[in-house]
């Protein structure tokens, strides 16, 4: 993966897209081969420079959207935007005070994606980032991804549909 590069990971259900992402962020250990980050010593560093938005949103339903994002920013470090700014970007500025449990699946997904903005990390590892999102939100997320690429970041996204990014390289897993 190079700076500014986007990779769309495709393949049938169960082909191993999520497993590959789990390996890249250091959550699963590969049976064979190795994952290397140029300029870094070991694979532990990979988790610390990448943002993971998996198919679970990583939100506490009892906490408000703002509290969830503030937690993510403090835990991940490298603060970039404030939770309120990030929520405004994903169109949820009005829902900052609502507990995440009250939000719809699509809104929760957007709060999870807003996490990408509250702390700055060069690699975005996204598992089905567009699932549960309406067309307008999908376009908004595509815009976020384009901005990230323009700033020199890299994105790897497992997806079934088009990501909406020009020039994204497709890597197909499995038969």
């Amino acid at each position: 993966m190079q700076p500014g590069e986007a990779i769309a990971l495709t393949g049938r259900n169960g082909a191993g897209k999520s497993s590959l992402i789990a390996m890249l962020c250091g959550k699963l250990r590969p049976d064979g081969g190795n994952i290397r980050l140029e300029g870094a010593e070991d694979e532990a560093d990979l988790a610390e420079v990448s943002h993971l938005v998996g198919h679970r949103d990583g939100l506490k339903t009892a906490l408000t959207a703002r509290e969830n994002l503030a937690f993510a920013r403090d835990v991940l470090g490298d603060a970039a935007a404030t939770p309120d700014e990030a929520l405004a970007v994903v169109g949820l500025g009005h829902a900052a005070e609502l507990p995440a449990g009250y939000l719809s699946a699509g809104q929760r997904r957007r709060v999870a994606l807003a996490r990408l903005l509250v702390s700055r990390r060069p690699y975005w590892l996204l598992d089905e980032p567009l699932s549960a999102l309406d067309t307008a939100s999908q376009a908004m997320v595509a815009g976020l991804m384009r901005d990230h690429l323009a700033e020199g970041g890299a994105i790897l996204a497992a997806t079934h549909g088009p990501l909406g990014i020009e020039g994204a390289r497709e890597v197909r897993i499995g038969p």
Binding site: C25, E48, L59, K60, T61, A62, L63, D74
Partner: protein, 222 residues
Amino acid sequence: MRRAFVAILKRDLAVASRAGGGGELALVFFLTLVVLVPFALGPDLNLLSRIGPAILWLGALLSVLIGLDRLFQSDEEDGSLDLIRASALPLELAVLAKGLAHWLTTGLPLALVSPLLGLLVALPGEGVLPLVATLLVGTPALSFIGAGGAALAASLRRGGLIVPVLVAPLTVPVLIFGVSAANAAVGGTVPFLTPFLILCAISLGAIVVGTVAAAAALRSAE
């Protein structure tokens, strides 16, 4: 790094204090257990006051065990454990923050309400403060020994039963020295300080060993 530690601690305290957070579950269970025991034993005050410290300690132990399985499992299920793993904060310190939050929301409130419940089991006046002291220093051991078991069961679906089964045998020394210190204060053959200091040592040891063991268990589940 300190910021991430405080963030985990604050978040767990906030989650526990919101509705359905589990913080109050242990307290209500403790209350129910201690309130029911005098009804089961009958009106023999001497018997009650003799076994009072044991009842309170047993109640506290079971109350801590009851919600322990959710300590890491809820984070694993909603994906926020991935967030904690992606932090620069060592997993041991993350576990320490979570264990501390668990004690602050279960062990500490149990110790603080125990004088009130002591009345129900006819605990003599001079035994109240020592009982609170033993619960204050003994319950951290329960939280951190429990954290080790909870981390093992974090990735198991419906692993709720396995945590008390794993953890209960390991808490026996805490129970023995906790109860013997509380009993010593209301008349016994040993001085209060001997079992109390051993209890302190067990707690300090459990904080270290439990933290390292839980972090190792979370790593091996990866």
